[in-house]
């Protein structure tokens, strides 16, 4: 309702401003009020140089679903980031223009303001920068930014939309990035069963409850504390990586030293960052299979098996994985969590409480065309 009032006000202001002589007079776009649950905390930033506005977010939504961003007008951001799959594509690695396979799995887009350093290896410092790369990537949309600007400029709708959002009918790549970033920052998922539990509007089953405890607990066999060790990296309510420099990038034991990809090391240049990838949010994880940066696991059961008994040693394997077991660690033996089947099932039951059905059907986020 507030939004409606704001929109009416905007239209009102716009009408007033058009009453003057200059029809190109700039009307400030209307601030967009991001609805954020208190328990997500304050460790997020909305960049001052690109504040959220109703017009900017709406333009970003159109661009997100705009196939003209691709060379042959067949692919949009939403081709690989589909709302019904929590903005993933259900594929191990995404398929770009001309049916080409990419090398990484499409990441879910969720609760982005609490995240920084985008892409699996963290190479984009901002969403504004991130949003432009797939347009130019020859495997994805394969279209120069100049060509993209020119195609959008020659449409009926976009010059006016850019004017409303940024005060200029002349489209720029910078404003394309800004609009896409604005839309993505509004993709807040906070209406899962887990959220309802946090605010006291729902109860977890006994199994989900056990799963939650295990999820957030680092095991300590000397104190008989059992844990699944998930929350060490997928921290707290957000279940995503720590938003502090590159702290939220980890090597989770998928490959040995010779098989490790560069990962974060390609960005920082530190050998100690080899094989580290962005810790993703687990919000809506039941909808985002297959899993890991290369989509190697098809099911949550396989993921749990990996962390429980499939960890592969390497130089940069995370200490929190190395040091986690529900039984006393025997030097030189394989790394195992020693969870029971029942405990693994409980963790999966908890993971399923992170599914937010409003998020995947909310019309604010859906195809506007």
């Amino acid at each position: 309702m507030n939004r409606l009032i704001l929109q009416i006000l905007t239209i009102g202001l716009w009408l007033v401003s058009c009453g003057g002589d200059n029809s190109n007079q700039i009307t400030a776009p209307t601030p967009y009020n991001l609805d954020v649950p208190f328990y997500f905390g304050e460790n997020y930033e909305l960049p001052k140089e690109n504040p959220l506005t109703i017009e900017g977010v709406e333009l970003g939504r159109m661009l997100f679903y705009e196939k003209k961003l691709s060379r042959d007008n067949t692919i949009s951001c939403s081709s690989c980031h589909q709302q019904d799959k929590a903005f993933t594509d259900g594929l191990p690695v995404s398929i770009g223009i001309d049916g080409q396979h990419l090398t990484k799995s499409a990441m879910s887009l969720v609760n982005m303001p609490w995240s920084s350093h985008f892409f699996w290896n963290g190479r984009a410092e901002s969403l504004e920068v991130q949003a432009l790369e797939p347009i130019e990537n020859p495997l994805e949309m394969d279209q120069s930014l100049d060509e993209t600007v020119s195609k959008l400029q020659n449409t009926e709708i976009y010059p006016d939309r850019f004017f409303k959002a940024f005060g200029n009918k002349t489209i720029t790549t910078e404003n394309i990035g800004k609009a896409l970033a604005q839309f993505q920052r509004t993709l807040i998922s906070a209406n899962s069963k887990y959220d309802k539990y946090i605010v006291g509007d729902a109860e977890l089953t006994e199994q989900e409850s056990l799963g939650m405890e295990l999820f957030f607990t680092h095991p300590e066999p000397s104190s008989s504390i059992r844990g699944g060790n998930c929350g060490d990296c997928h921290v707290n309510f957000l279940t995503s990586g720590v938003n502090d420099n590159f702290d939220g990038f980890k090597n989770n034991g998928l490959d040995n030293d010779s098989g490790l990809e560069d990962g974060l090391a390609a960005v920082t240049g530190f050998p100690s960052d080899k094989g580290k990838f962005k810790v993703p949010s687990l919000r809506n994880i039941a909808l985002t299979a297959p899993y890991m940066h290369d989509g190697r696991f098809s099911t949550l059961e396989e993921v749990l098996d990996h962390y429980n008994e499939g960890i592969i040693r390497s130089e940069t394997l995370d200490p929190l994985i190395l040091a986690a077991s529900n039984e006393n660690i025997v030097p030189n033996e394989d790394i195992k969590l020693h969870l029971t089947d029942e405990e693994k099932e409980a963790i999966i039951a908890f993971l399923k409480t992170l599914t937010d059905y409003n998020f995947i059907t909310d019309e604010k986020f859906s195809d506007p065309f």
Binding site: Y39, F40, G41, V235, N236, T268, S272, P319, I329, P331
Partner: protein, 252 residues
């Protein structure tokens, strides 16, 4: 972080009001001065090389350190002659050091310029009141990786790295996640001379990365390289209360 600064400003304003109301005659006092506390990690007296260097602890264990973090709270600046004290309200600072951030500092603004102090007190940890709350005060935030679980309080001190048991032995994870009310430790530092708050001052502290393992309790990692909430974690806390932080110099 910007939000925290706002919070601090409010906290200081309140402190200032308290001090000011007690000193009605001092009309000329201004509150424009600031104090910076800066922290650098060291090992064996040299800057600590995160991730890369191997260090030997008192018990002969070889380790490397990826990151160190701790909560600094309940900061007081005390004039031990007059008994006058500045008490920072709701100040919870997460001091975080790693290979991308080799120094950490924070600044207290709006201090009363005629204040002189010679003693600095602060705690490692989060006091019991706030530890049992999910309020976001200062750097306290249940969504950072210092919260154990949103209903079980904060880690006060965190160190992560690797322990190298020896030739032909696989590396082990080195994990210190220490918290719980019993491990809240208050530290005191004496400056050589009274520090005059007028002008801009910086207090330089060192954080000794090997201190948690060395004294008064010698920790042997060969029996266990992960410390969290059991009895042994108290020994780590006793160590960080003793040798972790030194006031190395003051500067203005």
């Amino acid at each position: 972080m910007k939000n925290f600064q706002t919070l601090f400003s409010v906290a200081f304003l309140m402190t200032i009001l308290l001090i000011a109301s007690g000193c009605g005659s001092e009309n000329d006092v201004d509150f424009n001065d600031s104090l910076t506390l800066e922290f650098k990690a060291i090992a064996n007296g040299q800057p600590l090389a995160f991730n890369t260097a191997n260090y030997t602890t008192a018990s002969g264990n070889v380790i490397s350190i990826d990151r160190m973090k701790f909560y600094l709270s309940n900061l007081q600046l005390i004039n031990s002659e007059t008994g006058e004290a500045f008490v920072e309200q709701d100040g919870y600072h997460l001091v975080s050091l790693n290979d991308e951030q080799e120094e950490y500092s924070f600044t207290i603004e709006n201090l009363r310029s005629d204040f002189k102090f010679d003693k600095i007190k602060f705690a490692i940890g989060v006091d019991a009141d706030k530890n049992a709350s999910i309020d976001n005060v200062g750097d306290l935030d249940p969504t950072n990786d210092m919260a154990w679980n949103w209903n079980t309080g904060y880690k006060f001190f965190l160190m992560e790295g690797l322990f190298y048991p020896g030739v032909d032995q696989e590396n082990q994870g080195l994990v210190l996640h220490i918290g719980l009310d019993r491990n809240f430790k208050t530290l005191e530092f004496l400056a050589d001379n009274h520090i005059d708050i007028a002008g801009s001052n910086t207090l330089h502290f060192t954080l000794d990365g090997l201190a948690p393992f060395n004294s008064p309790n010698v920790i042997d990692l060969t029996s266990k390289s992960s410390y969290m909430v059991d009895e042994d974690s108290n020994k780590i806390a006793e160590n960080y209360a003793t040798g972790l932080i030194r006031l190395s110099s003051t500067e203005r």
